[in-house]
Amino acid sequence: MATYHVELSGKFSLGQLSKAIEGEEALGTKFHNCRIWVNAKSVLTNLAEFEELDTAPDPPLGTPKLAKELPAGVTPAWVGPMIVQGSGIAQVCLLRS
């Protein structure tokens, strides 16, 4: 499937970042991954990759939620570094509920 990139502002909180991802996935896409990135304005921020879907995901993706801690026994959908509210966080987990 085709993928595309969008910027997730490094100024956002984890809650805002989660909502931004949920809002994009509501358009029939799936969060693929994210990495720290320097944008065209030389600002250190996040570059997220989304996958375009043409079929409803089965099972449903669930609501994405970013967290600093990984609850015991939970497998994250993604783990990686992010810029959150202007600071680099070494490990952010994307959980789905």
Binding site: Y4, H5, V6, E7, L8, S9, F12, Q16, K19, A20, I21, E22, G23, E24, A26, L27, G28, T29, I36, W37, V38, N39, A40, S42, V43, L44, L47, A48, E52, L53, D54, T55, A56, G80, P81, G88, A90, Q91
Partner: protein, 304 residues
């Protein structure tokens, strides 16, 4: 401000304009001499970096002990000590890097401005010419400074790239520090420290930028869109629209095709292509686009 110099003769500068010219040239020279330290944009550091680094007292034996560490606690303590020193010195390096450029350009800009303004104030043709020559000379000197400092707009990008490279290594270090000493031994910890230090150098930044150039090229060409934070109501609306599109099947494909036609989009042959084209029409998710797709779905009985 009243332009008293307008009443003066062409060849005789007014005393006030001479005074203004002298003040401006003096200011320019002061800026050059002082390096414009008051315009650095940051207050005096709360504690001098060198003193803190000296007090932390990282010595070669610490690194040797790290290499030979036999417990996770010792390994992490020694590694963190070195990380702290590397961080402090990196931040000082960045401050110096930015301050050097700021000082050079502030002094040069101040001088050029002063000289040009002085030239404009003085009515004497000869004096004006001299000031213009002085300004040209300063601009020429700035060219040399720029060649030496080679970083007009580059510094922020280099600093950001160093930050990205350092963050990448630090992520690995923090992750590895949770591992047992057997899985992440002192030698590996020392190698990571070396890489962490190297990531904070200009050479590493250039390498980082070069390595990412290709992968970022596509993203740049696509004019990366910054996501916004939608409201809960907007998310629910989007989900109902995309849900209606996903629900298009063989029996409702004609309705989907009509919706595409209503949106002025090319006809698609398969159900998947119809769905994909309608979903793509939602992006970027401006209120207008979402409204148009929503209306087309409703008009064709695909969404209530």
């Amino acid at each position: 401000m009243k332009m008293t110099t307008m009443h003066c003769g062409v060849l005789e500068p007014h005393p006030c304009s001479l005074l203004a010219a002298r003040l401006l040239v003096g200011l320019a020279l002061l800026l050059l001499a002082s390096g414009c330290s008051t315009l650095r944009g940051s207050p005096t550091r709360y504690l001098p970096t060198a003193e803190v680094v000296s007090t932390i007292n990282l010595v070669p034996q610490d690194l040797a002990n790290l290499q030979a560490a036999t417990s996770e606690v010792d390994r992490n303590l020694l590694q963190n000590k070195a990380v702290a020193v590397i961080d402090l010195q990196f931040n000082q390096f960045v401050r110096d890097l930015v301050a050097d450029r700021s000082d050079a350009s502030a002094a040069a800009a101040g001088t050029t401005l002063g000289a040009s303004t002085a030239g404009a104030f003085v009515e004497s043709v000869k004096a004006k010419t001299n000031y213009a020559l002085f300004a040209a000379g300063v601009v020429g000197a700035v060219g040399i400074i720029d060649k030496s400092y080679f970083y007009e707009k580059t510094v922020p990008a280099l600093v950001a790239a160093m930050g990205a490279a350092r963050a990448s290594v630090l992520v690995r270090i923090r992750g590895s520090q949770r591992d047992s000493i057997g899985a992440y031994d002192g030698t590996a910890a020392l190698a990571d420290l070396e890489e962490y230090y190297s990531a904070g150098t200009v050479l590493a930044a250039i390498a980082e930028i070069t390595a990412r150039a290709d992968s970022d090229k596509k993203a740049s060409l696509d004019e990366v869109r910054a996501l916004e934070v939608p409201s809960d109501a907007e998310i629910t609306r989007r989900k109902s629209i995309s849900g209606a599109i996903f629900a298009i099947n063989d029996s409702s494909m004609d309705k989907g095709k009509k919706a595409l036609a209503q949106l002025g989009l090319p006809e698609q042959k398969s159900v998947k292509e119809v769905r994909a084209a309608l979903l793509k029409a939602l992006r970027p998710p401006t209120p207008e686009r979402i409204g148009l797709v929503e209306k087309a779905l409703k008009d064709n009985g695909l969404l209530k």
